[in-house]
């Protein structure tokens, strides 16, 4: 018995020395985690599923994001990502105040739509003062006006096999040798039909500025900023996300961020 104690002790001591050695060797020791195919990374990413289920369980279907007062609007909305799309299509649309811009609603719907800005603004509107939380860590409070996405989906009559709404955008976020990548993202129908999920055309009492996504951006108030695409021109209803981009459901998701951006 004492002999066993001693051996186990030696083993544990060696193990703890090994861990502290790892700690001292500097943190590029863990850079292998950056490889999206790495097995250890995939195990760690498994926690995202747990995080997602915990958030769905606690926040439920209908809980509302906090709304704030006019007094909390103390600055203009800080823009991030693309703030002035350099795309010819976009610049053309901008040059005549988006008169030729249309929002297409397509995919798994009974009645595909093509809506002008005026048509969207003629629908019942919702205005909410909410806090925008960026994945980087900062927050900014602004007032958003738009049409509830659920109303647009109802008008298009979503087919029963649709599960996600995919947003296609006009802005090129990445130019590389393999070509241009326009911003894209997705949410599920639960969030798409959430009362605070709006297709916003107004901000702080004025028309949505170009840097914040004119003519139309999404507000998904229970998630982080990267889940709220700007410069949206097409909403596609789909039953799976595998066919889009690299298959993870969005531009940032394809670059390692979790699909459910609730934390």
């Amino acid at each position: 018995m004492p002999k066993f104690q001693l051996n186990r002790r030696r083993f544990l001591t060696a193990a703890s020395l090994g861990i502290s050695g790892m700690a001292l060797s500097g943190c590029d020791a863990f850079d292998f985690l950056q490889d999206s195919d790495n097995g250890v990374r995939n195990v760690l990413e498994g926690a995202n599923g747990l995080t997602y289920r915990a958030q769905r369980l606690l926040a439920g279907r209908a809980s509302l994001a906090q709304e704030f007062s006019e007094a909390d609007i103390r600055q203009s909305q800080r823009p991030n990502g693309v703030t002035a799309p350099d795309d010819d299509t976009y610049k053309g649309l901008l040059s005549n105040q988006f008169a030729d811009w249309r929002l297409d609603v397509a995919g798994l719907v009974e009645k595909p739509l093509s809506l002008s800005r005026e048509q969207l603004m003629a629908m019942p509107s919702r205005t909410q003062i909410t806090r925008h939380d960026c994945v980087e860590g900062w927050s900014c409070i602004a007032k958003w006006t738009g049409v509830q996405m659920g109303l647009v989906l109802d008008a298009a009559v979503v087919k029963p096999n649709a599960r996600y709404a995919v947003f296609h955008c006009l802005d090129t976020i990445e130019r590389s040798l393999s070509g241009e990548v326009k911003y894209y993202g997705s949410i599920d129908l639960l969030d798409a039909r959430h009362p605070q999920t709006i297709l916003a055309y107004g901000m702080n009492g004025k028309a949505l500025p170009v840097e914040n996504g004119a003519p139309l951006r999404v507000r998904v108030e229970r998630q982080l900023g990267y889940k709220m695409p700007k410069y949206v021109h097409r909403i596609e209803l789909v039953d799976g996300l595998g066919a889009m981009g690299l298959g993870k459901g969005g531009y940032w998701e394809d670059r390692g961020y979790d699909w459910y951006g609730g934390i």
Binding site: A47, Q75, I263
Partner: protein, 291 residues
């Protein structure tokens, strides 16, 4: 908790006169200790990675870009000698070139808040930092919750961690003893140990979990009072950072105390459970032997 007593010569014959070996740390204490150690290591370094994505801290609901509510900003700038790294704390600017704001080798300077050796991964990679952070956040909070419930039920909290009237009365002498690096080795924790471990387990770690949740927009919808209670999301983020600094301070003191109190004996007790107490006679490990 079992309190086996083993005669010293059973384990180390050469040192029979030094004292009695007592079984001080149960396997659950040792297991959770090392799970938390590993988790906190990864949480710290991935947390600094996440901080680097926006290296500024604020007080309030939002980040002041057009008004001033920041308390800490780390950045880089140029002065007459070239690029510098700076840290601005409560409006006062300090040159922290080499560590904060600007770091790396002379021919490869990198403008980043915390240096590459202090983050996981070493380069700027918020996405990977978040994957690591949330995995270990689950590991830490899950084991902490299980430990808390179990320790409440089995009496570990009451018996070993919550300070008693005796402990409070002993506090001044305990402080004096620590200041003179005079340590008593007994099965039970001394007053300062109880306060330090209790402060980490009951205050700092729960505060980390709560401020972490208060930063989540989905949790903000589920528990809107949480961020309000903490003074707003950005204040919660600042508290999260301050609690991190306090945990690092605890770690440093913890290491120094272990070195001063006898690292072999201290390490043995947290690895195997067995701890050598001071008195060769009398102390059976069931009461505080530091008297």
């Amino acid at each position: 908790m079992e309190s086996h007593v083993l005669k010293a010569h059973d384990d180390e014959p050469a040192n029979a006169a030094a004292g009695t070996l007592v079984y001080r740390q149960t396997r659950w204490t040792r297991l959770t200790h090392w799970i938390w150690t590993l988790s906190l290591f990864f949480l710290l370094l991935s947390g600094l990675q996440i901080f680097n994505a926006h290296p500024a801290l604020y007080i309030g609901k939002q980040s002041g870009f057009e008004f001033d509510n920041d308390v800490l900003v780390i950045g880089s700038d140029y002065n007459s000698n070239g690029p510098i790294g700076y840290t601005e704390f409560l409006g006062k600017r300090f040159n922290t070139t080499g560590i904060l704001g600007l770091s790396g080798t002379a021919d490869n300077l990198d403008a980043r808040a915390f240096p590459a050796w202090a983050t996981i991964p070493s380069g700027q990679d918020l996405a990977t930092g978040r994957v690591v952070h949330f995995f270990f956040a689950w590991a830490l909070s899950g084991t902490l919750l299980a430990w808390f419930v179990a320790s409440l039920l089995n009496g570990h909290l009451r018996r070993d961690l919550v300070p008693r009237v005796d402990d409070i009365r002993r506090l001044p002498r305990d402080i004096a003893d620590h200041a003179r690096l005079k340590f008593h080795h007994s099965r039970n924790y001394n007053t300062l140990q109880k306060l330090a471990y209790g402060g980490v387990l009951f205050v700092l770690l729960p505060l980390m979990v709560v401020t972490g949740l208060a930063m989540s927009p989905s949790m903000n919808a589920a528990l809107p009072f949480l961020a309000d209670l903490l003074g707003g999301r950005q204040t919660a983020r600042t508290i999260h950072f301050v609690a991190m600094a306090l945990l690092v301070a605890f770690f440093i003191v913890h290491m120094l105390m272990i070195l001063a109190a006898g690292p072999i004996n201290e390490l043995r007790s947290i690895v195997t459970g067995w701890y050598r107490t001071d008195s060769p006679n009398g102390d059976n490990g069931s009461h505080n032997g530091s008297a």
